[in-house]
Amino acid sequence: MSATTPTAKAPKFDRSKVDIGSILLEGRAFIALIVLIILFSFLSDSFLTVGNLITMTKHVAMNAILAIGMLFVILKGGIDLSVGSTVGLSGVVAGVLLQGLQIDSLNVVLYPAVWVVVLCSLLIGTLVGFVNGILVTKFNVAPFIATLGMLYVARGAALLISNGSTYPRLAGTPENGNTGFGLIGGGRLLGIPMAIWIMVVFAIIALVVLRATPFGRWVYATGGNERAAELAGIPVRKVKLRVYMISGFCAAVAGLIISSELTAAAPQTGESFELNAIAAVVIGGAALTGGRGNIRGVLLGAFVIGFLSDGLVIIGVSTFWQITIKGAVIVLAVVLDQAQQRFKRSKNAALAVASKASATPENSGITEPSAK
């Protein structure tokens, strides 16, 4: 009985209040980030230094790149659990190629150029995404299960290729003509690590794709209402396949950055990275049901997680507490998100009532909501 009566009165009465509340909610990830920075600056002198900020942002970049790929999948209404394993696999592929390919029959060792190595790694990552996409679209496997399977398969492949051991010394040698791999993760441009530049470039590209291309709109529509999207003539299957490929590609990039920075590729790299990526997307306000989320939110989410983890390390909080606090922050983010959605829903319902009320019998085209 009480459910609908108040909403009918809401638009005039509560508008200002709702708006302040929703602004606070809307900007919650940003506010959280500011609060974190202020808090840690007080607790530690070394937190707010240029050097530390760059280091932390570099950590953020790895997760942000994964999260950008993950955002595409989550916007479409899916999930990609395989990205952590893809990080490991792409690093191992780079490692095996940089160590030199032993061709027994010819008794030679091939040393592919670095750009070939990078290309192969990216292809492998995209391939993992492609398999995910095929499983989801052609075989109707639930995204959670399909990518869970690929989580194991990709990790297993990484272990098989490397036989479980780490590839050291990926710097290459001038004789073999394969130096320069280390620049991807270790290089700097204008004093800023390459990883951060890559994150920025990826964020811009993703932003443009999502905002200014039909494909971007299709991703939102497919996640928002797949049936309606299909009926509108959107190639839903193609969209689904592509988002997994994008996610796999991003994971491969992250894998390259990490193995380059360490100049070593271990098959275990990237374990549980998928969870950090999902957390960043969720903290950024994306809905796991699809159709809602944006790049700005994802970046904020990645920064909140990254600064929180590193900040806790700097002020010397134990690892166990770090994990617990991170979990609590994620849950809190979703709780706040739900509150925001409730606000929005009741506001929209009120608007719908208002639009009905202002709808006069004579049809005057567009009418501004007359209630002020």
Binding site: A212, F215, E230, L231, G233, A352, S355
Partner: protein
């Protein structure tokens, strides 16, 4: 009128067991019920008549605790009650058989019947033995030869409906609400149901019954109540009324004012359907559409009229490319639709405005503008990038063109009223520049004013040469807003009528809504 119903009316006392006073229900901006007063009497069958969207089902949902009213009071035995949930209602002896089946297909008949009210032994464990015995008893009573442990998913729809009925009976209700209980039942199953209903009323149970099969409903009725546009417009003892009384009260006069301008002469054939057969998705052995042939010309506005289950939705969905044709051919301006995808059909000029706006028509997470351009997005793209200006122009033009009342194109689609949302869905279809526009129940859940606007819009496009084919189950719409009425029943075309020379009764009779014989006096 059967003798037995009359006997029951006379024999049992007519105490009011449940009363609704001034019940109003708003769904967002739509007023589904407008201050309805309503009584349910012990030992009688009260039948609710009314067209789709008249408010019957909403009232039933309120009476059974599925929905809470926006205003008004429910009284049970003279005491005001607030039904918080269906469980609460069942505890108070009010059970409902839903129009949409609400069974879990992965569970057995027994587990479905006792879902939420499991029989306990020692207060902890489920007493499966007692449940099985009781289920077998109920099924025997309903003359359904099924084992209690049969999976509900393995049953055909009619049998599932019997399980729904059994579930309601198991609760030993004092008030039993039946919302379209016979829509999937066979003739003999209906007879069994009516026998059970008479047994129940004889035992003092009050029954509220909704059906679109007027004749059938009148057979079981003690009291008739007619709803129209969310209001209770007429009530009378069943003995004093006939079909004509029901129909005239059901239809009222509101539908007559639609009458948009339509063409008299039409262009060449835009859509040609030849011997279409479509399988029934819920029962593959059955055909939902069985050998249907139809031509729709440019400038025509053809209405597909029929009851629920007549095959209208199945036909339109198959034409849109959502489900495959089993046999037959569909051609758009001479080009075979064949195995083309939905996207290709949209490209070719055939678009469907679906029946369920929320489920299939709108992307709720998007704005008004984004919804409008969803189907025509590629035409605003240069290379890979969208032209923001072109898209914005198209949105502004279309908002004006289909008269969407919105504060801004960037407002959330959920901030619009139902009628305006539907205009957005239609505007989205029109932006694809269609040759043939299919609409499935385009005015479902929309108030009268918006209804007229939507039909005016469809008519305007048809005058421009668009071929319009729409499905409706409201006779008033069919008569006042079409150039031709195609009546479907059981997957076939049973009549093609000219709306200018046809009466309501003729349309209803043709569709099988009323039975032909012994009914001549109704006209």
């Amino acid at each position: 009128m059967t003798a037995s119903a009359g006997v029951v009316t006379g024999a049992v006392n007519t105490d009011v067991v449940m009363r609704a006073v001034g019940i109003t229900k708003n769904y967002g901006p739509t007023q589904a019920l407008k201050g309805v007063d309503f009584e349910i009497r012990r030992g009688t069958v009260t039948v609710l008549f009314g067209e789709n969207g008249a408010g019957k089902s909403t009232l039933m949902k309120i009476l059974s605790g599925v929905e809470t009213p926006s205003a008004g009071v429910l009284e049970l035995d003279g005491e005001p009650v607030a039904l918080r949930s269906t469980v609460d209602a069942v505890d108070r002896g009010i059970a409902i058989i839903h129009q949409e089946l609400s069974l879990a297909p992965n569970l057995s008949i027994r587990d479905n019947i006792f879902m939420g009210r499991e029989v306990r032994s020692n207060g902890i464990f489920v007493d499966y033995k007692a449940e099985t015995t009781k289920t077998a008893e109920l099924l025997r009573h309903l003359e359904e030869d099924l084992g209690p442990k049969t999976l509900v998913g393995d049953l055909r729809v009619g049998q599932q409906q019997v399980v729904e009925i059994a579930r309601a009976l198991a609760g030993e209700a004092r008030v039993l609400i039946m919302d379209e209980p016979t829509s999937a039942l066979s003739g003999s199953e209906v007879e069994v149901l009516f026998r059970v209903i008479r047994e129940l009323t004889a035992a003092g149970v009050a029954i509220v019954y909704i059906s679109h099969h007027l004749e059938e409903a009148l057979e079981i009725a003690d009291h008739a109540v007619v709803f129209r546009d969310g209001a209770l417009v007429a009530k009378a003892p069943a003995a004093e009324i006939d079909l004509a009384w029901i129909i005239s009260n059901m239809v009222g006069r509101s539908a007559d004012d639609l009458s948009p301008d339509l063409l008299d002469e039409f262009g060449e054939v835009a859509l040609r359907l030849t011997d279409i057969k479509i399988a029934d998705s819920s029962n593959p052995a059955r055909l939902a559409v069985d050998g249907l042939s139809l031509d729709v010309r440019r400038g025509e506005m053809v209405c597909l009229y029929g009851l629920m289950g007549a095959g209208r939705t199945e036909l339109l969905e198959a034409l849109a490319g959502r489900t495959p044709l089993l046999a037959g051919s569909a051609e758009l301006e001479g080009k075979s639709l064949g195995s083309r995808s939905i996207a290709e059909r949209v490209e070719l000029g055939l678009t469907l405005v679906p029946e369920d706006r929320q489920r299939d028509g709108l992307v709720q997470t998007m704005s008004v503008g984004e919804n409008l351009t969803l189907a025509s997005l590629l035409s605003y793209a240069r290379r890979v990038f969208l032209s923001g200006k072109q898209e914005k122009d198209a949105v502004d033009r279309e908002i004006r063109d289909v008269r969407v009342k919105t504060s801004s194109p960037t407002a959330s689609i959920t901030s619009l009223s139902g009628g305006n949302q539907q205009k957005v869905v239609i505007g989205k279809a029109l932006l694809t520049d269609p040759r043939v526009l299919l609409l499935d129940e385009p005015t479902r859940g929309i108030d009268v004013g918006a209804k007229a606007e939507i039909f005016a819009l469809m008519a305007r496009e048809s005058r421009k040469g668009l071929a319009v084919l729409y499905a409706t189950s409201e006779v008033g719409e069919a008569l006042s807003a079409s150039t031709r009425i195609v009546v479907m029943s059981k997957g076939r075309i049973v009549a093609q009528l000219d709306p200018r020379t046809t009466t309501r009764e003729e349309v209803m009779v043709a569709s099988g809504e009323t039975v032909d014989e012994g009914n001549g006096d109704a006209r």
